[in-house]
Each structure stands twice: as structure tokens, then as C-alpha cells.
Amino acid sequence: MAVEPTDPAVGVDEWVARSEQRRDYLPGWRGDVQRAAARVGWWPRLALAGLLGFAIPQFGLNDFQLQVGINALLLALLAVGLNVAVGWAGLLDLGYVAFYGFGAYGFALLSSNQLSASGVHLPAYESIPIVMVAAAILGVLVGLPSRRLIGDYLAIITLFLGEAFVEFTNNVAPSKLGGPNGIVAIDPIKGFGSQITTNKGYFYLLLILLVVTVAVLHLLDTSRTGRAWRAVREDPLAAGLMTIPVNKVKLMAFSFGAMIAALAGTVFAAQQISVFPTDFDTTFLILIYAGLILGGAGSIGGAVLGGLVVAITLDGFLRSPTQAGYIFYGVILLTLLVKLRPWVRLGAVLAATVAFGLAVHAVASAVSASAVAGGPQSSGWIADAVRDWVVVPSNAQTFGNVGFVVLVCLLIGLVQVRGRWRTVLLVPTLYLAACVWEGRLVAEPSITRQILIGAILIVMMNARPQGLLGARRVEVV
């Protein structure tokens, strides 16, 4: 996944540098549609997206699907908040998940029996603002090191703060914070004589919160503050010379991000009815980053989209082996479709893979019957489609483990070679990927999820660092 050779040349004007990315309108009526779409302002688009979101639960989703939707909206909200510090202000905040945890624990303490015998049970319109203001102050405190430290040092300090949050909730004041057992029996969100108890209710609540947050952030982005953030990201020294109060602007970014994370945390706690220290560990932080990176750091729409895609893919589809298979083979086919041109090459590679598989299968079954005894572990028509050419021996676990290591080696090799050999090497790589998937990965969905998140981060950063919707950073010297 080499960097594309068409990087904008250094030393040219930004407008000229982006000329490659500009496209004429299409001819005829399609061009008219494009022009009309370009004239639509940001708020009708946001309203339209919001209405679409409102329509979704009307299709009779079951509780599990609604839960996936809630997780997706939460992740989108978190990614949008993370975008403020990381995407706009360029501050690598690796303790972000602690704010989320702070919000959740704050809400939990203010809406349960933890603090005193009779408990504190504030209505949501009191507890959520309290938690958010506290998180904003915490954000300023955590952001204080950014006055002195930049880049990697800030990253590692914030990462320590994130780890410290988990340690803190695990070990300090177990009678109040519950230690590893967390806090349970938290009130739902309530106020004005009513309360939200259903998943559908939380879905709508989160959707409203997300739309409002996006609107606020859009206004902020196009304001003086937003421009100041981007100026500080590009060059703090120059920004300072332009009389931008660099430190204040950085603290604001931390503070805004923290508030949004805390808001997400409160809804999370209320919806889950319980919070545990492990909900806020580094794994979840990396999930938020994966969402933001996939969508494109620096763009609100990208952050929302990335959060939704990551959460729906991981929570929704990768839980069931059949759907995970669709995603796995679908993504491979899509990548090949985009990368392999002309389509004759694609067809040749796919045919060669199946032929290669048939040959290997024939040889393996001739050598020993147990070498093909395992059979594919996914189900449905995918299993039928691959049964005759994907080799899975009876001890699928060992085979899968070895295959996984070889597959990673092959992938690394694939990046190194060029030209025709890459196409040739692609065939056994694809075949092995199918074998490992059928033999091992599909049987371990939770681990596969995590591995995929790591792979997404690596591949996205190498292939398309600006993400799906982000704008490519142009270096103008």
C-alpha cells in the first residue's frame, strides 16, 4: 500500500495543487442534479440525514438491531468529539476514552444508590449538565500539558491519563466506585415526569443529540475558533504570530471534546444501567480512533460515517458467522474490483484462485483424507460455494494458526513485489485467506473483530490517510 505517486507537488499554490481532484460537472441532466445538490446548504442536508435516521426504527427493527444502532450512534458521537481535538486542533489525545468513562461514572454516581444510603437520584436535566461542565473542566486540566508538550509527549501523557482512569475506577474507593464490579442499577434518563426505558427511546435520544452536536460543531468549525484550531494544527508558531492565543485554543479543543465524550458517556450509562472499568479501556479507544480514521479526521461527516460503519460492521455483522462471511468476502471482492483493472485481470485472478484451490484440494485429499475432513466452518451458501476448493483439515485450529502467520507473511510480501509478480502472488494469498477464514477466523468472531480493527488502522493510514471523506492535506511551501 504505497503512497500514491500523485502527491501534490510541494511549492505550488493550494488551488493548483488540488486541480487533480477537481472534476467538471457531468453532461446533461446529471450535471444539473449535481449543480442543484451543490447549492443545498449544510442544514437541509443535516435535517435530511436526521429524518432518515428517524425513519429507520419504523421498519420494525428488533431489540438487537436497535442495540446495534445505539452503539453505532454512540460511536459516531464519540468520533465527532474526538475529531475536535485530533482532526481540527491536531492534538493527539489518547486519553479521550477517559472522558467518556468520566461521563458514564459521573452520571452513574448522580443517579444511583452509590453515594449515600438513600442514593442520589437527580433528574437528567440536572445531572447531565453537571457532568458535562465537570468534564469540560477536566478537559482543561488534562489539556494543560499541551501548553508545554507537543506531539508524542502529549500522546503518551494523555495515554497515561486514560490508563490511570481505568486503574482509578478499579482500585480507588470500592464502596463508592464499585471496583471491578462497577456500578449497577443506574436510573434511566428521566425528567419532567417521564423517563426513557426502551431501546427505541434511546435510539431517538442519541439521534437528536448527534444532530444537535453536529450542528453546533459545524457552526463552530466555520467560526473564528474553528479557523484558529486549524491554524494551530498546521503551524502553532505561525498561528501564534497571527495573534491566535495558541494555548487557549488548544485547551478549548480539549474541553469541547471532553464535553461531547461525557455526554455520550451519560447516555451510555443510562442505557446500559451499569458501568464497569473495562468499558473504558484502550480497546475502546482504538475503536473510536478506527471510526475517526476510517471516515477521515477533520471532517464531521466523515467522523459520523466512520463511527457508524465501524460500529455496525463490528457489532452488527461480525457477530454471526454467515454475515461475517458476507463482509469478509465482500470487502475482498470490492478491494479487488477497485484495485484490479481491467476487469479481465480481476476475472483471471479469481478463476486462477479457484483453479489453484481445486488443485490443492485434489492433492491434499489424495495425500490424506483428514487433510480435507474439516470442511468450511461458515454456513449458508458461502459454505456450499467454497466446500470443493477450500482445504480445511480436521485439526482446523493448528492449521488456521499456521495459515494465519503465513498469510501475514504473504501479505507483507505482496506489498514488496511489483508488477506481474504481485498478480501472481495474489492468487495463493487470496486462496490462503479463504482457507484461514473458513478454518479459524470465522470460529473466533471476537478476536477477528479486534484483529480487523488493528488492520483497518494500519491499512487506512498507509493507503488513504485522509479517510473516506476527509480532504487530503496539501502541503504548500
Binding site: 503518551i156 491519563l161 480512533y289
Partner: protein, 305 residues
């Protein structure tokens, strides 16, 4: 008093492990200005390699070859294997990003770390693997003064770490490769113009740094007796901070920082409470980084524009 000395020795042992990992962190940071989060996971991989070497030669209770030879194979295989893994990671994940904005390689490093941790989970499972060191190296051998006991494993770890650090210092200061590394660390472009093979130098740095992490992982297995796929991340984090505390880019500094953190940890565990060890250590580290970001032995870097 003997309790204090005992804790001191424990701290020095843990500190040696941190120091070795910190050295690799510091070297990589020196040449690439990259915070390689995956470094801690390389330490974990090293520990696993050591474990599987023991299993290969009959398991801890029935080792089929002499113990010194076994240790030698463990260290060598783990060093070479993890070193090669480090080079592969550099080639695959970091090299394309050398000129990208700083945030890109950092997030990639996070991804590599996450990938390694979970690949190990897939391959080796979540259970703790037990080295069973006492089965083949008797804890009774060693220095015994009254109630004070320093067993041979701890002595081996401390001596070997110090030897490796001295060797590394000689490598960096006396050899051609070391000179190339220092040149690349100072100014990569200028080094390239002077005819230095930058790619090779960076790969070599990754190899040496990762090999040190691998060796350190085997030592951790020998001392703590168990390995797990999550052991790397936090250890790596502390090790990097050890490098920062001592001063990035300084070998003596990494050693000093590692030892200080190891001793602080074991003293807090011994005298205060093991519950708060990590919290207090984090606090100390954050304080040091805020007060003196250039580290104890590091030089203040002036930023030129």
C-alpha cells in the same frame, strides 16, 4: 534493612527489563521520531518465543539439553525472531509513512500494537503460559546473606542487561553502523546526501531495538514465570516513559530511567500498597515529563524554524 535490599534487587531486576525495552524505544525514536507503540508487544512476542523453546526441548520439568544451552537458544532465537519481526513491521507499516504528518505513523503504531496483541490471542489463546523457571533453574543457587536471598535468575538478568547496554553503547559510539545511526538520527536528509543508506540503517536500528525487546521478554518470562498476550502494552508504555525520564536518545539515560521506574515500582509495592502501584508510578511519570520533558540526562532540544 534486608527487606529494603530485597526490594532494591527486585526493583533492579524489573528495572533492567524496562531499561532494555526503553533502549529499543529510544533508538527507534531517535532515528524515526516515531513513538513505536508496538515495541511493548514485541517484548510479549519474545516472551512467547522463549516459552515455546522450553516446550520444544521437553518442557520445564524434563529439559533435554543442558540449561545454559537452553537459555542461550532462548535468548538467541527470541532476539533474532523478534528482530526480524521488527524489521518486517518497519518495512510494511512505517516506511511508507516516513514523510507523512506525524499523526499518521502514531496511529499506525497503535494499530500494529493492537494487531500483534490480538494475533497472539488468536494463536496462543488467552490463558497464562507458565515458564516454570524453578523447575530447571533452582532458586537455591545464588547469593544468600542471612535472610537476604538473591537468586541466580535475577543475577543473570541484571548482569546480562548491563552487558547488553554496554555492548550497545560500544556499537553506537565505536562502529560504522553506530555512526550511521547517529547521523540518521541527527538529520536524515543530510545523512542520505552523505551516501548513507538510510533505509538499511533504519532497518538495522529496528532489528537491534526489537531484538533487545525480545531478549527482555524472555527475561521477563524467567523472572515473573508467566506470559500473556496483554503483558506488552503497559510494559512498553512504562518503558517509553523510562526512556523519556532518562532522556530520549541517551543510552545511559534509558538505563537510568528504567532502573528508577523499576525501583520506584517495587518500593511502592513493598512499602505502600500494590493496589496503587500503577497509579503512583503514572503520577510520577507525568510529573517528570511535565517538569523536565528533556529528561534527566537529555539535552534540551532547540527547535529551529
Amino acid at each position: 534493612m534486608h527487606f529494603f535490599v530485597q526490594e532494591l534487587v527486585n526493583g533492579l531486576t524489573t528495572g533492567s527489563l524496562y531499561a532494555l525495552v526503553a533502549l529499543g524505544y529510544s533508538m527507534v525514536y531517535g532515528v524515526l521520531k516515531l513513538l513505536n507503540f508496538a515495541h511493548g508487544d514485541l517484548y510479549m512476542v519474545g516472551a512467547y518465543i522463549g516459552y515455546f523453546v522450553i516446550q520444544w526441548f521437553g518442557g520445564a520439568s524434563a529439559v533435554s539439553i543442558p540449561v545454559p544451552l537452553l537459555l542461550l537458544i532462548m535468548f538467541l532465537l527470541s532476539g533474532v525472531g523478534v528482530g526480524a519481526l521488527g524489521v518486517a513491521i518497519e518495512r510494511f507499516a512505517y516506511r511508507p509513512l516516513r514523510d507523512a504528518p506525524r499523526i499518521a505513523p502514531l496511529i499506525t503504531a497503535l494499530g500494529v500494537s493492537f494487531f500483534l496483541e490480538n494475533a497472539a490471542l488468536l494463536l496462543f489463546g488467552a490463558q497464562y503460559r507458565i515458564y516454570n523457571t524453578p523447575e530447571f533453574i533452582s532458586f537455591n543457587i545464588g547469593i544468600h546473606v542471612g535472610p537476604l536471598q538473591i537468586d541466580i535468575v535475577r543475577i543473570l538478568v541484571i548482569v546480562l542487561s548491563v552487558a547488553l547496554m554496554v555492548g550497545l553503547r560500544l556499537l553506537v559510539t565505536r562502529t560504522r553502523l553506530g555512526k550511521q545511526m547517529r547521523a540518521v538520527a541527527t538529520d536524515r536528509e543530510a545523512a542520505e546526501m552523505m551516501g548513507i543508506n538510510v533505509d538499511f540503517t533504519i532497518a538495522a536500528t529496528f532489528f537491534i531495538g526489537s531484538a533487545l525487546a525480545g531478549v527482555s521478554g524472555v527475561m521477563a518470562g524467567l523472572v515473573f514465570n508467566q506470559v500473556n498476550n496483554t503483558m506488552g502494552f503497559l510494559a512498553g508504555l512504562k518503558a517509553f516513559t523510562a526512556a523519556v525520564v532518562g532522556g530520549i536518545g541517551s543510552i545511559a539515560g534509558a538505563m537510568l530511567g528504567g532502573m528508577l521506574i523499576g525501583i520506584a515500582e517495587s518500593m511502592i509495592t513493598g512499602y505502600i500498597s500494590s493496589t496503587y502501584t500503577n497509579l503512583i508510578v503514572f503520577g510520577i511519570l507525568i510529573a517528570v515529563m511535565l517538569v523536565r520533558p528533556s529528561g534527566l540526562l537529555g539535552r534540551v532540544q532547540l527547535q529551529k524554524v
